[in-house]
């Protein structure tokens, strides 16, 4: 999956799934402090990403991500490990 494709896929999920504004979805946005998401939201995100990618992401890795950019990185890895 191309970088831009990942960014738009994740951003679309965040915007729809958590009712966030697209303009707040910048790579440096911190999930907790800037976007107001907590660990329960992270689990929902993990399950959704896994289902849409068709590959598994280690649960504990997702718990460690801090920013939106970290999420892009994780999805990129998961997509690469699948192909």
């Amino acid at each position: 999956m191309m970088e831009q494709e990942i960014v738009s896929k994740v951003n679309a999920l965040m915007a729809r799934g958590f009712e966030l504004s697209e303009k707040d979805l910048v790579p440096t946005a911190r999930l907790k402090e800037d976007l107001g998401l907590d660990s329960l939201d992270a689990v929902d995100m993990l399950v959704h990403l896994e289902e849409s990618l068709g590959s598994r992401i280690e649960g504990e890795r997702l718990m460690q991500v801090k920013t939106l950019s970290d999420v892009y990185g994780l999805v990129k890895e998961a997509a690469a490990s699948k192909s």
């Binding site: 009712e19 929902d44 598994r56 649960g59 504990e60 718990m63």
Partner: protein
Amino acid sequence: MKKRDAIIIGSGISALTCALLLAKRGKSVTVLEQYKKPGGYLHCFSRFGERFDTGAHYVGAMDPGHPFHTLLSYLGVYGEEEFVALDPSGFDEFHFPEFTVQMPKGYPEAVARLSELFPHEHAAIAEFFTLVRQAVQFFPTYEFNDSMQELPMQHIFETSLATVVRRLTSNPRLQCTLFAYCGLHGVQPDDVAFGFHALVVDSLVRSPYGLKNGGDALTQKFVRQLEALGGEVLLGHKVVQLEIRDQHIKRVVTEAGAEFESEWVISAIHPKATFALCDDVKVFSPLFARRLEALKESVGLFGISALTTDTSLNPLRNYYFFESSDPQRFLLAGEADATPGVVFLSSARRVPSENRIQPINLHSPAPHTWFSQWRESAYAKRSEEYKSLKLSLAENVFARVEQYRPGFREQVTRFATSTPLTNLHFNGSAEGSAYGLYHSIQNTGPRAIGPRTKVLNLLLTGQNCLFPGLLGAAIAGLRTSGHIVGIKPVLGELKELGANA
């Protein structure tokens, strides 16, 4: 209005474990049960002058010092007179078309028994049971380890049972044997996390027991102990609304209009049913709502409570009759007009009968869809068509047993049946499922729904929250109450109690 420390919705073993643990720690607890009798799947019922259990057919880890024994002792509800050790030489008997396996108590014995059957697979068998033992060490709320961090356990939730077994052996018969216990949680080998399956295997191999006086007797012990500690169980109190303000439940409202306030609310009912009670859905994200909606239920069970004159059945042994050695078919109900993929037979009395009549339970997978057209009709007042479907399903179940025990059908003198609709009526279980949510890797371990929720004083427990079965649900109760009183000191006390047993 008296404000309690905790309101608990539902009164199955998970709810009662929570209630007792909190009460032991000085919390004021009220349990609200919709039905006229407490216990959930611990319920018993009478037919033909015999007692039958709805859910408590056998349980593991019950020797002194083993986890379930320790937990019940800690809660003050263990009674030696309530339990009976199953046959150590073979507590479970798996029948496949080509071979039969009797599972003995104890790890070395289990390895030796399976190695006799599969002599070329000794290394794989030994490795499987070693992995099972290793996996359960990662459950602090099972091994009562107060110093363990949660993180290292995660890898056992990332790998399926099928992945582990196929890596160890390509022998299809051995694979079937190692998958056989999937019938006890209702999740296919490819979907269940190895760690959870390991809990079931470990508890049974270590010390399998039956309940001598049924689940009702255990429930009574819980209720009496809770009342002695100042708690209460209110029956006929169906919760219809959870009033939410500022991400907190302010009030719990029942069908009869009673209102309760409490610091914490613990729901032991199905997560979908729990969130449907919330009057403000805005606390949940659209993503969570979608995930909740997509959750699957485990399969329902068709049950038969029967009397038999077959005295060759060992009351201290359970019997599994499989249609084939194809693990993919284990839990499949197939079609309503076909013999089921598996039948589970257990004694309802667990002591040898004096009058040559033995009460037994038979269970087989049966999806709720077979019965959905009667869902709205009243319990015990359903149509002739429903009754005749039940009769034909019963004959299919008997036919499966007959395949392995010729003459079985003739020895059944009386029988009554139950369907997923029966579970729905008594327990409110979604779709009448026997094991609650379908506990695939996608909703267990780090991906589980609960115990914490977006409503800050609402916690979930029950077999949906962690894992099914008496043990799974009781551990869920321990884990959930730990969020309120702190789990470490409780685990420390449990560890000490277990070590001194």
